[in-house]
């Protein structure tokens, strides 16, 4: 099936914010404990308690920003429980997810250290649901105040002399649900109140993020924007791709049918409509797009792996997830005028993770490989790209077979990312590259492809699915002709001039 793509390399649509490649870490299941934090006395090699294998793999991804401590956990988290000597820290039960004992060994200092090691920006979710204004205000003071104050003194006593730099701060999480079951009018008022006391100390300027809607709750977006837009820098959106139904069975992560494959990808594409419609509501109050939309929870959500604690949300990750990641990142690029950050859920061992661990073993998932292949788009100029071609059809329903996004980096290299979502058809694509400013000089390409619907990596075979050099293409008179394998994500690097 053929597809014609035109890329205008001299027409830029602005920068693809690197923060679109952000991640989310929640105290849930084995995301923080076992996945990231093993403690200094673990026999798993670690740096100040953070496991080295995970650290190294995450460093390669050039993670720009990491959200923490939740999720639903954020609105029952009391930060003062997680500072000071670890042996004295409070133990509590995480009632939201699996009834796990939380020993608070991974707290503010440990999270900030993780961000330093990853060289990424921290994004902290504050507690509105069960915390107080004072508690939130003091947390920001503890982290960022560079003068004499009780909070700054306390931080110093706990071993951190200089304040941290903290830009991204969320005022609550899912306050329409686990964060307090609030109505939007009520949350909007609380947001206005709480954010007042999220202060800027010294040079530190906090970028304030309001809790936005769940999926297609347009009333929430309308109300919070109407009532509180002058007080925010950004508002969040949460949307998970679930092939089945949330309450009655989401569907398995492996061993699924062709129909489930199709439905999953169709539902992933729904992100485009959600951003478009929420953005249109934002436009009424913010026509100049000062306020960013942050998709700070997204990804696939399936039934947990059989035999695992259902509250841990542990699922496998296949080539289907790789395509969801590729499609979604392409959608975020297309909305780069509004979407300024996104955080896939959740970084290790929970939902659509880039890494899975089991004891000392670790594997990189197909989603990891897509993030690694796509990282070249971070902070690049999005180029004008158009596609026309055949559709992928199943049982009378249709979606586009190929998705494309293109960008130009600071060195002038062009990257084109292509997803062929068909489970059984190759895609013949012709990419006309206009406005290059010279002939094509060099092309490199990498592809992640599989020959079964649920191809994935296991602890026994961690490299079953990895990207490889792609060579099924040729260039003729400035047009790149390529044969994309079924179920594949491909990234081209093109140097011209």
């Amino acid at each position: 099936m053929s597809h014609v793509i035109t890329i205008n390399a001299d027409v830029s649509h602005g920068t693809i914010n690197r923060n679109i490649y952000g991640h989310f870490s929640e105290h849930l299941g084995r995301c923080i404990y076992e996945g990231i934090w093993v403690g200094e006395d673990s026999n798993i090699p670690n740096t100040e308690g953070i496991r080295n294998d995970v650290l190294e793999a995450l460093k390669k991804l050039k993670i720009p920003v990491l959200r923490w401590p939740g999720g639903c956990f954020a609105d029952e988290y009391h930060w003062k429980d997680g500072i000071g000597p670890r042996e004295n820290r409070k133990r509590m039960i995480n009632t939201h997810w699996g009834g796990v004992v939380e020993n608070n060994h991974f707290g503010t200092h440990e999270f900030m250290r993780l961000c330093e090691l990853l060289e990424c920006e921290p994004y902290i979710s504050g507690n509105v649901g069960s915390g107080t204004v004072q508690e939130m205000s003091e947390w920001v003071e503890y982290m960022t105040f560079d003068g004499v104050s009780p909070m700054a003194e306390w931080r110093k006593e706990n071993g951190r002399e200089k304040p941290w730099k903290l830009k991204y701060f969320g005022v609550g999480n899912e306050n329409w649900g686990c964060g307090g079951n609030m109505r939007p009018e009520y949350y909007a008022d609380l947001y206005r109140q709480y954010q007042t006391y999220v202060r800027n100390y010294g040079e530190n300027k906090v970028y304030k993020i309001a809790c936005g809607p769940n999926v297609d709750d347009y009333r929430w977006m309308e109300t919070v924007m109407r009532e509180a837009h002058p007080f925010m820098d950004a508002i969040s959106l949460h949307y998970y791709t679930i092939p089945g139904e949330f309450w009655t069975g989401k569907g398995p992560a492996t061993g699924f049918t062709e129909q489930e494959w199709f439905t999953t990808l169709k539902k992933a594409l729904h992100m485009d409509e959600l951003i478009t419609r929420h953005s249109a509501i934002m436009d009424q109050y913010d026509p100049n797009k000062r306020i960013g939309l942050i998709v700070d929870e997204w990804g696939t959500w399936y039934d947990v792996e059989p035999g695992t604690n259902p509250g841990f949300l542990y699922q496998q990750n296949t080539i289907r997830d790789a395509l969801v990641a590729g499609l979604t990142l392409n959608i975020f690029h297309e909305h780069n005028d509004r979407v300024v950050m996104a955080n896939i859920a959740q970084i290790v061992n929970v939902l659509q993770s880039v890494i899975l661990t089991e004891g000392e073993k670790m594997l990189l998932t197909p989603t990891y490989h897509v993030f690694n292949m796509y990282k070249v788009h971070q902070d690049a100029e999005r180029l004008d790209a158009h596609i026309s071609g055949s559709e992928y059809e199943m049982d009378g329903e249709k979606i586009p077979q190929v998705s494309v996004s293109a960008s130009k980096d600071a060195e002038g290299k062009i990257h084109v990312s292509l997803c062929n979502v068909s489970h059984d058809s190759q895609a013949d694509v012709s990419v006309a590259l206009r406005g290059l400013g010279g002939p094509i000089f060099k092309i490199k390409a990498e592809q992640l492809a599989a020959d079964s619907l649920d191809a994935h990596n296991t602890f026994e075979a961690p490299d079953a699915l990895t990207p490889s050099t792609f060579s099924a293409y040729e260039v003729e008179e400035g047009v790149l002709h390529a044969k994309l394998a079924p179920m594949s994500v491909t990234v081209f690097e093109i140097t011209a001039g």
Binding site: R30, G99, G307, Y314, E358
Partner: protein, 91 residues
């Protein structure tokens, strides 16, 4: 209609013995895939004294319900650096 019900605090996230029994009754627990009863008990004994066991059911290292995974021959204890299910480790 927007569904903003709380995702995390429903009963389906609580593991009880009925659920474990239901899973163990499924066809994947055919006798040829399972360890002997005595080995099963040895494995469970090791879990019961393990610092990584949470709430009497969940192994924090792999997230598994040990009453389920300890049944299966192909499963191994994931304790870092030591298989606590092996007879030597337990004794």
């Amino acid at each position: 209609m927007v569904d903003n019900r709380c995702k995390g605090c429903r009963d389906d996230y609580v593991v009880d013995s009925k659920q474990i029994e239901r899973v163990l009754a499924s066809p994947m627990f055919r006798s040829d895939r399972c360890v002997s009863d005595s080995e099963y008990l040895t494995r469970l004994d090791a879990c019961m004294s393990c610092p990584k066991l949470q709430g009497g059911t969940t192994c924090l290292v792999c997230g598994c319900i040990v009453q389920i995974t300890a049944k299966l021959k192909e499963k191994r204890c994931p304790y870092p650096g030591e298989d606590r299910w092996s007879i030597e480790a337990v004794s």
